[in-house]
């Protein structure tokens, strides 16, 4: 276990050290102490290492992650795991706005609540939120799965493409072109796998599935007057 004191040694040193680890490294386990809400902790990693942040972070924690497993023992500010490619990010507390935005792959687990715009423009990432999510979540989401064990706020899945949304609680309102869809066996299977990997004991049958009505994909001549 390598320990890095962020307050004493600074952010650039942390990120350059973690970014220089490669697949052959034998320093596979890292601990970051005294994060004190700092921004951009453990960003741009590209090695199968485990990083534990001992406290809450500010903006853009674990951004652009590839391969690494990053756990935050606290809450995170805006933009956690933004544009993640692969690997895993686990947040023990809450996440602020646009968690997992534009993510292409990997798994983001939020044990508490996520606020507005969770999974905005997601492109293949899987996000599991144990609590609730805020308004405008999964806006323009293109691919991947967003699983919400609690409730969803206003305008869920507005202008959605092909991402799948699973919500166990209530949805305050659906955004434009987002509709409830039939839960088929293959969806229950995907959901079960994600819940297992996220350490969540909710049952897949308790969820509803939402997706795109695909009415915004093509120009509709009846809407000419709007242009």
């Amino acid at each position: 276990m390598q320990t890095y004191d962020l307050e004493a040694n600074g952010l650039s040193g942390l990120n350059s050290t973690l970014q220089s680890q490669n697949t052959e490294t034998n320093q596979t386990s890292w601990e970051v102490v005294n994060p004190k809400g700092s921004h951009a902790i453990a960003v741009g990693l590209d090695a199968p290492i485990e990083v534990t942040v001992k406290g809450s972070t500010g903006y853009y924690c674990a951004g652009m992650n590839q391969q690494a497993t990053i756990r935050v023992e606290g809450s995170v500010g805006p933009g956690v795991a933004e544009n993640m490619m692969s690997g895993e990010v686990i947040v023990d507390g809450d996440a602020s706005q646009y968690a997992g935005a534009t993510g292409h792959g990997g798994l983001l687990v939020i044990k508490g609540n996520a606020s507005s715009r969770c999974g905005i423009s997601m492109k293949g990432i899987d996000i599991v939120v144990h609590g609730n999510i805020g308004h405008m979540s999964a806006f323009m989401a293109q691919a991947g799965n967003l699983v919400v064990c609690g409730d969803a706020g206003d305008a869920l899945g507005d202008s959605l493409y092909e991402a799948r949304l699973f919500v166990r609680g209530t949805v305050q309102s659906l955004g434009a072109d987002c509709v409830e869809k039939e839960m088929r066996p293959e969806h229950l299977e995907v959901l079960k796998d994600l819940l297992d990997r996220a350490g969540c004991d909710a049952k897949p049958e308790e969820f509803r599935r939402y997706g795109s009505a695909r009415q915004l994909y093509n120009f509709d001549v009846d809407n000419t007057a709007a242009y």
Partner: protein, 309 residues
């Protein structure tokens, strides 16, 4: 961008440390607002006189004999305490408007920062650390306070464009965001007789709340109606004699974090601003909901918070 910090004490044994804690929070928010900084502090209200805090670019000239000259013109007793470019005038509360008129005659270059029984506002252009040092903010004590670091968007970087804005007796407002309908609203409020001194959007937000309260709304109602009448992005923190409130616009893209313990309620634009507060590891930390008014008052039971909307 801008940074906001706020601290409301439930445990008054922390009152002597309010300035120190708030100054530390303010300086942490320097990255969010290096242009100017300000603080509104609610100190002790035991003296019978009320406070008029004024500012001058030429304090040596303007503050010399000021209390005496003002007292003579108003035929009442006025005392003063000078703090760098600011001066707190102690005078009877019913003399505020008369004092404003007299000041514009006898010291035309003086600007009014705030008025109230306990409120004092100190704000200047410069890095938050420099502003805090010149006013010795960390030595101040009080029951609650609000600070702001400004990255200017809507108007010039001047003392008058710095936050907090005084909105009425013992009321103040700080803002992170930008209002898009402030020009039309400023014209409307001026027609209604509200004094607006600058081209700044936040001052219009402040004046709007004053106007609502002049017409019978309480602060919670005024904040709630701001959600309908103000167009743009905002996280507002407001101070009153008894407490402070928070409201965010429905889109809520401007950040906000709150923390509550048995000793205090704290607000920060980022969690970073809160990390050195006592007992923060055990505090309840959360993000205020969009379009929801929060308010804490020394008049209520100390552990409740009111969600008026």
């Amino acid at each position: 961008m801008c940074g906001i910090v706020g601290l409301f004490l439930k445990d008054q044994s922390l009152a002597p440390k309010l300035g120190t804690m708030l100054t530390d929070m303010l300086i942490t928010m320097t990255d969010r607002g290096p242009d100017s900084a300000g603080i509104a502090i609610y100190g002790d209200g035991t003296s019978k006189a009320a406070k008029l805090t004024v500012q001058s670019a030429n304090p040596d000239r303007d503050f010399s004999g000021l209390a005496e000259d003002l007292g003579q013109a108003l035929a009442t007793s006025v005392t003063q305490s000078v703090n760098d470019t600011h001066c707190v005038l102690h005078l009877p509360a019913d003399q505020f408007e008369a004092a404003r008129a007299v000041l514009s005659e006898i010291r035309p270059s003086i600007r009014i920062m705030s008025r109230g029984e306990t409120l004092e506002i100190y704000k200047e252009v410069g890095l938050p650390k420099e502003v805090a040092t010149r006013f010795n903010l960390s030595s101040m004590s009080g029951t609650h306070g609000i600070g702001h670091t400004r990255m200017a968007t809507e108007s010039a970087v001047t003392t008058m464009g710095a936050h907090p804005f005084n909105t009425g007796s013992d009321q103040c407002l700080v803002h992170n965001g930008s209002l898009s309908n402030h020009n039309s609203l400023r014209r409307k409020l001026r027609r209604e007789g509200v004094t607006i001194q600058t081209q700044n959007d936040t001052e219009v937000g402040a004046a709007y709340l004053t106007w609502k309260m002049m017409n019978g709304a309480d602060l919670g109602e005024a904040l709630k109606s701001s959600l309908d009448d103000l167009d743009g992005f905002f996280t507002f923190v407001v101070g009153t004699k008894d407490g402070f409130g928070v409201v965010r616009d429905p889109i809520a893209c401007k950040p906000a974090v709150m923390a509550e313990t048995d000793q205090y309620v704290a607000f920060g634009s980022e969690y970073r601003a809160l990390v050195n507060l006592p007992g923060i590891e055990q505090a309840r930390v959360w993000e205020p909901e969009p379009a929801t008014v929060y308010f804490w008052s020394h008049n209520n039971s100390p552990t409740t918070h009111e969600r008026a909307a």
